[in-house]
Symmetry: C2
Subunit: 96 residues, 2 copies
């Protein structure tokens, strides 16, 4: 994250979560599968109806995409949804 973003974030006491670990893991997973399926970012953008900038922002982990966006990607790449989420999140170690 950029310094300017960190500063403004810290200042505003923001409420919405941004799961950096998960977002980065998803970015890696998407890029892996997109390339495996033989798509360029442009192709994926065009065929899915998403914008190229959006695809790039997702793969560089700059934004926190919505489910509908991910669904559009999965449909276009023609892969099972679970494939895109086939990675591990660190679990919170709590629980009684």
């Amino acid at each position: 994250m950029k310094l300017s973003a960190m500063i403004s974030r810290q200042k505003v006491d923001r409420k919405l979560i941004f799961d950096e670990e998960g977002i980065k893991a998803f970015a890696i997973q998407l890029k892996k599968i997109r390339i495996r399926e033989g798509f360029s970012q442009s192709q994926l953008a065009f065929e899915s109806g998403l914008s190229l900038s959006q695809i790039a922002r997702i793969e560089t982990a700059r934004i926190n995409p919505t489910l509908s966006t991910v669904f559009a990607i999965a449909r276009t790449l023609n892969v099972p949804l679970a494939d895109l989420f086939n990675f591990e999140l660190s679990q919170k170690e709590n629980n009684v």
Copy 2:
């Protein structure tokens, strides 16, 4: 509708996608897993740090949640991410 209205609307018509089919399928899947894991919506909300209204909105398919929100849910329910996405999307039949 008048042409002028269509034109001015066309300019503003940049509505974001809302994948109703996918959002509904996710709502069902979340509810199923939440109950299976023995959580009430309140518990899930409290332990995840999400608001109760947000959990309800997701399970009633009224909103299009972000990945970070889904990640928080998966962590709290302590289930693999792929579990929450273990459902089928209708694929677009095209290609080649």
